[in-house]
Amino acid sequence: MTTLNQADPSATNDVAPHEHGDHRMFGVATFLVADAMTFAGFFAAYLTFHAVNPLQPDAVYELELPLPILNTVLLLVSSATFHKAGQKLRLADNRACRQWLMVTAVLGLAFLVSQMVEYFTLPFGLTDNLYASTFYALTGFHGLHVTLGALMILIVWWQCRTPSGRVTAHNQFPLEAVELYWHFVDGIWVVLFLILYLL
């Protein structure tokens, strides 16, 4: 019986422990679970306010639908274009990959501009009432995520400019990590849109 073999490399090991697989995507996914819980806390607060804190009679809190619908479309399309970019990278077509990445980044920035336009046209400000504060906190926190995501997309866009660069068909991790993050941010937006604008 050699169950406790201290220095016997001939045992049942096919892979030595230091040659373990690549678990970086697992870490990204776990981090996104934590990030989702932050949003869950915000949503829970918003829904509780809705349930137990009625708006004051004189408070102004009205949302228009056209811009947020445009925003939803922008983000959903950007998820699809990011997926396209990933496909192209796997085919080692860096040029097409970069084009799709740029389209995604532009869509993300368009979302941010559209969000800004909405902010400036809304009839209420951050401290006007409870709902207004929660609206800006939630959309602002999400907008921060979109901003970071757009920056990361541009970084990946830069890093895969040559076939021998940092992001290639052989090292897709940076692109895959940002892609997962981007889909996550889009998913959060859909939930946010449903709760904040439609509920």
Binding site: L4, P17, V52
Partner: protein, 556 residues
């Protein structure tokens, strides 16, 4: 700066890590170095938090506010709570022992994300210095470690904001650590090692890390909203502006009740490692231990509102959270009886590690019983925010977790340093700590039942005598640190040489040299399928010849 080569493994590229004592001050990615960084850094904060506790007990030795001004008392109690929870217990019982032991237990050379690991540690010293410096710059936060609004909105803003920033940094550190532990336990196991063969501490850390990842972000979000209330004058938690303070309490306790399990579950795991070694018996009820840890994780997420029975909670909520909280007693009781059964009939060596573990079991049962009592609404409404709660809480986190931290230091010190601690001094340390702790906190049950509120600098003179007893206990606890410090420092230089496996233990960290080499093992990691396979007289164990199961059955 010198470059160290991992011993005897030529296929590795050399890593740019300093060697010698310098590496403990560097951005080292070695999990053992990071574990010790957590431990020593946490212990320094423990001394600071202990000094703050001493100030509190000195103030409370007399009914009048004569030792320090009232607002300073509020700052001191806020800092004491925050330092002890976020800078001592959480980093040490998770970060220190988790980083040191988990890679050994799963048969890995390091954690899954070594650099993230170093980042997680190095967030702690700045956050701690930030927190403590706030006292000297503008005055620290005064609203307790719970930072309930509207109190936290109306007390001076700068101290409260520094407190929030510091806790956000520490929360980030905790989340990064949690991600790392989950990935290491689930993904980095040595080939052939099954989940149900892992030492119990791995399960405890897996459960703890799930709680960390699910609940800490909610606290972060809540504190961001609170900081908006303080800085931007929004009204999330400000009733004057249409907000709702109870929402803060819900969100806060959604983290802070699981935080109790984040502090105590790893301690459960560590005790489950220590007891079998020194009793020479297998851990009793391995599978039930695993299931009860996971049950505590699930239940721990749905009991938070039992902290809020006096916050106008509706009856259905009181009913639900009372029942859910009472349920937690079941898995916890299973673990308690498993430890007793592990001790039962064992060849117990009553050294310092076992004494502290047994002290833990005694204290934790007392704290657990008062916990079940506090979960009952009629009783909780009576003693809410009294010293009864203070006593209960300290029986869990000090009598429970800190006792286990000391037990673990006595148990793993030979592995970390290669030298034994002085046993008589260790027993003296245990005696002083156990007597001091119980003298300090047992009388506080009486104080609470008789109506002394917590967090006050002045109280009714009828409570003076009992408070003085409690303060004497605190003094004993402070004195008990001295033999420990002397022991730890002196033994590092003059202690008896321990050898690789002084306890003749079977868990994997003992199957390498003391202290272990940079990548944990020379050659392959051992495959330990029976980490608790004890059962024959100590001198008859042949570690190389038999499997754990053989040892256990031949002992009958």
């Amino acid at each position: 700066m010198t470059v160290s080569l991992p011993p005897q493994s030529e296929q590795h590229t050399p890593s740019l890590q300093p060697t010698g004592w310098l590496r403990y001050f560097s951005f080292s990615v070695d999990h053992k170095v990071i574990g010790l960084q957590y431990l020593v850094c946490g212990f320094l904060f423990y001394l600071i938090g202990g000094a703050l506790a001493g100030a509190i007990r000195t103030e409370l030795a007399s009914p009048m506010s004569d030792f320090m001004p009232r607002d300073v008392y509020n700052q001191v109690l806020t800092l004491h709570g925050t330092v002890m929870i976020f800078l001592w217990i959480v980093p040490v019982v998770n970060g220190a022992f988790g980083n040191y032991l988990i890679p050994f237990y799963v048969g890995a050379r390091d954690m899954a994300y070594p650099r993230l690991n170093a980042v997680a540690f190095w967030l702690i010293p700045p956050a701690g210095l930030l927190l403590i410096s706030s006292y000297f710059i503008t005055g620290a936060a005064q609203s307790g470690w719970t930072a309930y609004p509207p109190l936290s909105i109306t007390t001076p803003a700068s101290g409260q904001m520094i407190w929030i920033l510091s806790v956000l940094l520490l929360g980030g550190s905790s989340i990064f650590g949690g991600i790392n532990f989950i990935a290491t336990v689930l993904k980095l196991r040595r080939p052939g090692l099954k989940l149900m063969q892992l030492p119990m501490y791995c399960w405890a850390m897996l459960g703890t890390s799930i709680l960390v990842v699910l609940s800490t972000p909610v606290l972060a979000g809540t504190l961001i909203l609170l900081s908006f209330d303080i800085v931007a004058h929004t009204g999330f938690f400000n009733p004057g502006l249409g907000g709702n303070v109870v929402v803060y309490q819900h969100l806060f306790w959604f983290y802070s009740h699981p935080a109790v399990y984040i502090m105590v579950l790893p301690a459960f795991g560590l005790v489950s490692e220590i007891l079998p070694v020194h009793c020479r018996k297998p851990l009793f009820g391995y599978a039930t231990m695993v299931y009860s840890i996971m049950a505590i994780v699930v239940l721990g997420l749905v009991v938070w509102a039992h902290h809020m029975f006096t916050s106008g909670t509706p009856p259905w909520m009181r009913l639900f959270f009372t029942i859910a909280t009472a349920f937690i007693a079941v898995p916890t009781g299973i673990k308690f009886f498993n430890w007793l059964a592990t001790l039962w009939g064992g060849r117990i060596s009553l050294n310092s590690a076992v004494l502290f573990s047994c002290g833990f079991i005694v204290n934790f049962v007392l704290g657990g019983i008062t916990g079940v009592a506090l979960a009952q609404v009629p009783f909780d409404v009576h003693v809410h925010d009294t010293y009864f709660v203070v006593a209960h809480f300290h029986y869990i986190v000090y009598g429970g977790t800190v006792f286990v931290i000391f037990a673990s230091i006595y148990h793993w010190y030979p592995k970390v340093t290669g030298r034994m601690l002085n046993e008589p001094i260790g027993r003296l340390h245990f005696l002083l700590t156990f007597i001091g702790f119980n003298l300090c906190f047992a009388p506080q049950h009486w104080l609470g039942l008789n109506g002394m509120p917590r967090r006050v600098a002045e109280y009714d003179p009828q409570f003076a005598f009992i408070n003085q007893i409690s303060s004497v206990g605190a003094l004993l606890m402070a004195i008990s640190t001295l033999p420990f410090l002397w022991n730890v420092v002196a033994s590092a230089f003059n202690g008896e040489i321990a050898g690789d496996n002084p306890w003749k233990a079977l868990t994997p960290e003992w199957l390498t040299s003391s202290p272990p080499p940079v990548e944990n093992w020379v050659g392959e990691a051992p495959l330990v399928e029976e980490p608790y396979g004890y059962g024959v007289p100590i001198d008859q164990i042949d570690l190389k010849a038999t499997s754990g199961r053989d040892l256990w059955s031949s002992g009958k």
